[in-house]
């Protein structure tokens, strides 16, 4: 029975341990901390894989554990592990705050895992708030005035959105009288389309866009990505987006997506795609560029979600997983380049001559960026193919065409970085060595990017199976 709650338990124990560490007078060495976190990250990963096929519900079935939630927990654990690896390598966090950084990381991961399983409105909202606060603090944990400004904006924007979401929630709960999502969505008020219910649900799902950084709530992303420390940004970019997708899938899959809703989402997806891709063309700071690219990716995921069909949801699940892999690979390269460049905002010019300095990293950069652009045989392409095929089944042919044209535009700025990596001569030609731990992770990621792109069969069926199980009757 206890295994059902294994991943969350491990994270809680980890946070308790970290709390004790903060109390110690003589600060532990950074080396010890990173090894400890690496170990706990691996344990967490093992825990998640172990509890992958468990199903059941806890806390008087406000907390549902099924293949769907465990799948996303594994994704979050993966993102957590990679962030820890990156943090060990290069972070701009002052030494005395490193333990707190790991603490907030852990609580953030805990919050996201709970979002995956929470099927009760209150526990869902509290989980969202937990992960949100941890991310605000993670974004703030870095020396420098720019990051203060961006984290304040991040917090206030987030707080206002959660206020609006709460208001929507109150209407929804008030109308249906119960807090379990299944009952809410199956209640007579929902089916008869009461205006209060519609506006409540709309406000709540709009607020979810905040975490997904889709239009109109994507303004925080470029500033936070640019100014927060790179490992924190990698965590925000991968884990929190995946968690947002989980909740969206839970919500949309059950509600069956009325036509008007998918139309509205379509418009939002259209704008966020265009906005993300075209703005990225002008960026020189790679982290800010990746922020705009994540806004565009949010647009693609919304295209998958708005079909509301089982196919749409499973492809969104698969694409979220692919997105986490691609972005982690990109951030891994970015971290190492930032480390060699010596400052946390590597410009495109810092990627010059990467192929000469470290061919392995250049290859990984090539694979991750091309996968983000949706070039076969990588996972990004397969993900996009099935994502848009489910949308096309519902007849959104214009949106699909627009999305594909957008990915062509996106190729321009991805290829510019690749071009810098392969063509221009580097200023400092010191070889860029990749530590063993990161090299193993990198090989794993590259293998995943390529193999899952060429042999996606197993993973697509896993996604379909998970989404089918994830549907709360």
């Amino acid at each position: 029975m206890t295994l059902l709650f294994l991943p969350e338990m491990m994270l809680s124990f980890l946070s308790v341990a970290l709390l004790c560490l903060t109390l110690l007078k003589n600060q532990k060495s950074e080396k010890f901390l990173s090894n400890f976190m690496l170990l706990s990250g691996l344990l967490l990963m093992a825990g998640c894989l172990l509890s992958l096929n468990l199903t059941g519900s806890l806390f008087s079935n406000t907390y549902r554990v099924d293949l769907f939630s465990q799948g996303f927990k594994t994704i979050t654990a993966l993102a957590f592990l990679l962030t820890v690896l990156l943090a060990a390598e290069w972070n701009q966090i002052p030494k005395n705050r490193l333990v707190e950084f790991y603490l907030f990381l852990t609580t953030g991961a805990l919050g996201m895992m709970m979002m995956a399983s929470a099927v009760d409105v209150l526990s869902l909202f509290v989980a969202i708030e937990l992960s949100a606060y941890s991310l605000y603090l993670l974004a703030a944990l870095k020396v420098g005035s720019r990051n203060a400004e961006s984290s304040v904006k991040y917090l206030i924007f987030g707080a206002t959105t959660s206020g609006v979401a709460l208001w929507g929630l109150s209407l929804v709960v008030g109308l249906t009288g119960s807090t379990s999502i299944a009952e809410i969505l199956a209640s007579p008020a929902a089916l008869s389309g009461q205006p209060a219910f519609v506006i409540g649900l709309a406000l709540f799902s709009l607020s979810l866009l905040f975490k997904l950084s889709g239009f109109p709530l994507q303004f925080w992303a470029p500033d936070v990505y640019e100014s927060a420390s790179t490992p924190a940004v990698s965590f925000i970019a991968t884990a929190s987006k995946a968690a947002a997708v989980t909740v969206l899938i839970r919500l949309f899959f059950i509600s069956g997506m009325p036509a008007a809703f998918s139309m509205a989402l379509g418009v939002l997806a259209f704008i966020s795609m265009t906005l993300g891709n075209t703005a990225a063309l002008l960026q020189t700071d790679v982290k800010r560029l990746l922020a705009y690219s994540s806004i565009a990716q949010a647009g693609y995921i919304l295209v998958g979600l708005l079909s509301g069909s089982a196919n749409g949801m499973s492809t969104a699940f698969f694409y979220a997983f692919a997105y986490v892999l691609m972005n982690s690979a990109a951030f891994l390269v970015l971290t190492l380049v930032a480390k060699s460049a010596g400052h946390d905002n590597p410009q495109i010019s810092h990627f010059d001559g990467l192929a000469e300095r470290s061919p392995f990293l250049a290859l990984m950069l090539l694979l991750s960026l091309l996968s983000l652009a949706g070039i076969p045989p990588l996972i990004g392409f397969t993900g996009k193919w099935i994502l848009f095929s489910s949308a096309m089944e519902k007849g959104h042919w214009f949106l699909v065409l627009w999305a594909v044209l957008n990915s062509v535009v996106s190729l321009f700025y991805y290829l510019t970085i690749v071009k810098h990596a392969y063509i221009t001569k580097p200023k400092d030609t010191s070889p860029l060595e990749v530590p063993i731990r990161l090299r193993v992770a990198a090989i794993g990621l590259c293998a995943a990017l390529v193999l899952m792109g060429i042999f996606p069969g197993y993973f697509i069926s896993f996604a379909e199976h998970a989404v089918a199980l994830g549907l709360i009757r």
Binding site: F157, Q194, F215, T278, L282
Partner: protein, 643 residues
């Protein structure tokens, strides 16, 4: 040796020679001429053997056909109910082909011999002989072809070899330009031929010569289409046989080595057009308008050629223009309806014109100059053999009694007289001009006084190789002599004395000596010779007179009736104008507008979206709230319709 083996030998011998020469290693290049000559000899002998085997004209025509390409498509032939047609390649043996193949191979062999002498000290000799044998191969293919498509195939290959041979000395800029001009103009004419074949193929579904008789065609297609097809295919003939609008390339083709001009640009290739006229006579005769058109074009060519020849200084140019006018005559003969007369004149002309070219080659080689005045001044008359051959050739060209030219030209005049008086008069004028320019050439070379200084420097240079080896000397004399003999004998074949076997052979009827015609030709020759004598009795004064006099006729003749300028205008202004417009379009519209245009539009879009991200939190919030309200409003409106 049955026919098929002989045919294969004739066809493949030159090709094998060409391939062998290409594959020869560097040091063995010296043996190239021998290989080429051996192949030419083999081809000549086997074609003579073939001719001998079929001399009495029995069991002809025979066809040996090999499938090349199968076109199976019901929707292609609207008028004909066949669903597939096999394009094939093969050999057709009939009287016309046999005659032509013997003429081609014999002359080719003699030219090979002469080239051994002429190209003795040229270092890329191997390439020359390679191209020569390749020409022989493609010419045989053209002559023996069974259908129009095969003719077209080898037609283009012949055009290619003429391009390669004209531009043989490619270092010379003028040679390569002339070669390009020849090929492009041939190509222009071949477009018509190509279109004609395609249209014929689509409308009648067959291209075999055996099917192209006018009854079959007349009941198959209306007269108008037949005329169009006829004229289109005749365009091909005009290109190859240098007829009126497309004759400009032949004089420039003289840039090539003289044996090439002898073989290709006088006897064989240019005659291919006339041969095609005779070969596909059924098609052309199926509509009167085509024949008339052919007649008119023939006349124009003859007149233009003859008139331009009168003012040339370069010996090869004179012969080139004379070829143009003689070809015009042949085309007139066929246009007037008798293919036999045309073919007879073709055969005789082939021999004496190649003889003339070879002699001019001898002169040029010996005296290192093309200009007849310089040849004369350098003691042209002392080279006895060449002068004899020259006189013999010129006399038959003018049609003086015992020589071949007389019989064939008179036959044409006879045919024209019966057909239409106007063209008969034009033919008379042409033959008068022919006599005038041939005697002009003769007198200039014979009567000009030798200049001492020019002469001394010449002999020092000319002599050393002259007596070097007997073989080379032989190769110079044998072709000249034998061609001279043949061109005399050939004439008699057409006459009554040897029961005009040749004419019967060609299907023409008995020739009867037409006394009235004899007199007119006699008057004509005498007056032409006299006029030339008056003008060119003393070449030096004639030369000065020529250079000063400035008459309108002289300028027109000098500017070659402004045809070259018309071509110049067409290619430079019209052609390049359109190309320039397209290139500008390509640069401007296609590049700027389509490519960079869209790119800049996308970048503007990018600027807008990055402008929204202006750093002010409250702007972001207003965006969020604004869009939130819009979406909520729209959702509520569409779902529950309360608004």
């Amino acid at each position: 040796m049955n026919d098929l083996n002989l045919l294969w030998i004739i066809q493949l011998a030159p090709l094998v020679a060409f391939l062998l020469i290409q594959l020869l290693p560097k040091n063995a290049k010296r043996t190239a001429p021998l290989i080429a000559m051996g192949a030419a000899l083999l081809a000549a002998l086997s074609s003579l053997a073939l001719f001998y085997a079929h001399r009495d004209g029995n069991n002809m025509p025979q066809q040996y056909i090999y499938q090349w390409l199968k076109v199976s498509d019901k929707s292609l032939w609207p008028f004909v109910t066949i669903d597939h047609y096999v394009l094939n390649i093969g050999f057709l043996v009939d009287k016309l082909n046999l005659l032509m193949i013997t003429v081609v191979t014999v002359i080719a062999f003699f030219v090979h011999l002469f080239s051994y002498y002429y190209m003795a000290e040229d270092k890329s000799r191997a390439r020359y002989f390679g191209f020569l044998s390749f020409f022989a191969f493609s010419m045989t293919g053209l002559v023996l072809s069974t259908n129009l498509l095969q003719t077209f195939l080898f037609w283009e290959l012949v055009g290619l070899t003429s391009y390669l041979l004209i531009g043989f000395w490619y270092e010379k800029q003028s040679a390569s330009t002339a070669a390009r001009k020849a090929f492009v103009i041939n190509r222009l004419a071949d477009l018509g031929f190509y279109l004609g074949i395609v249209v014929l193929f689509i409308l009648t579904g067959t291209l075999n010569f055996t099917d192209l008789n006018h009854e079959f065609l007349r009941q198959m297609l209306p007269a108008s289409t037949l005329t169009i097809i006829g004229i289109l295919i005749f365009m091909g003939v005009m290109g190859k046989s240098a007829q009126f609008p497309f004759h400009v390339w032949l004089p420039d083709a003289m840039e090539g080595p003289t044996p090439v001009s002898a073989l290709i640009h006088s006897a064989t290739m240019v005659a291919a057009g006339v041969f095609l006229l005779a070969r596909a006579f059924g098609l052309f005769s199926s509509s009167e308008i085509t024949l008339l058109f052919i007649l008119i074009i023939g006349t124009l060519t003859a007149l233009v050629g003859a008139s331009l020849a009168t003012i040339q200084r370069d010996i090869k140019k004179i012969l080139a223009y004379s070829t143009v006018s003689q070809l015009g005559l042949m085309v007139m003969a066929i246009g007037a309806g008798s293919a036999a007369a045309g073919m007879f004149h073709l055969t005789t002309h082939a021999f004496f014109k190649s003889l003339l070219f070879l002699t001019s080659g001898a002169f040029i080689h010996h005296f290192h100059s093309n200009d007849i005045w310089e040849i004369g001044q350098r003691g042209g008359k002392r080279d006895k053999v060449a002068v004899a051959a020259l006189c013999l050739g010129l006399f038959s060209l003018c049609g003086i009694f015992p020589f071949a030219g007389f019989f064939s030209k008179d036959l044409i005049l006879e045919v024209l007289r019966e057909h239409n008086l106007f063209f008969y008069i034009a033919a008379i004028l042409v033959s008068f001009l022919t006599v005038y320019y041939s005697f002009r050439m003769l007198f200039v070379i014979l009567f000009s006084k030798e200049k001492k200084d020019m002469h001394a420097h010449e002999t020092a240079l000319a002599h050393p190789h002259h007596s070097s080896t007997g073989a080379i000397e032989l190769c110079r004399v044998i072709p000249l002599a034998s061609l001279a003999i043949i061109s005399v004998v050939m004439g008699f074949l057409g006459t009554g004395w040897l029961d005009s076997r040749l004419l019967l052979w060609l299907g023409g009827e008995e020739t009867h000596v037409n006394s009235e015609l004899l007199i007119t030709t006699l008057i004509l020759i005498v007056s032409g010779a006299l006029l030339a004598y008056i003008f060119f009795k003393n070449p030096e004064t004639a030369e000065t007179r020529l250079t000063q006099s400035r008459g309108p006729i002289k300028t027109i003749l000098e500017r070659k009736f402004f045809i070259d300028d018309v071509y110049e205008f067409l290619t430079k202004k019209v052609g390049m104008g359109i190309a320039g417009a397209f290139a500008w379009f390509d640069r401007k519209i296609a590049k700027e507008l389509m490519v960079n245009g869209t790119a800049y539009r996308i970048l503007d879009l990018g600027k807008i979206s990055s402008k929204i991200q202006d750093g002010l939190l409250q702007d972001y919030l207003s965006w969020a709230v604004g869009v939130g309200i819009l979406v909520a409003f729209w959702l509520v409106k569409s779902n529950s319709g309360i608004f």
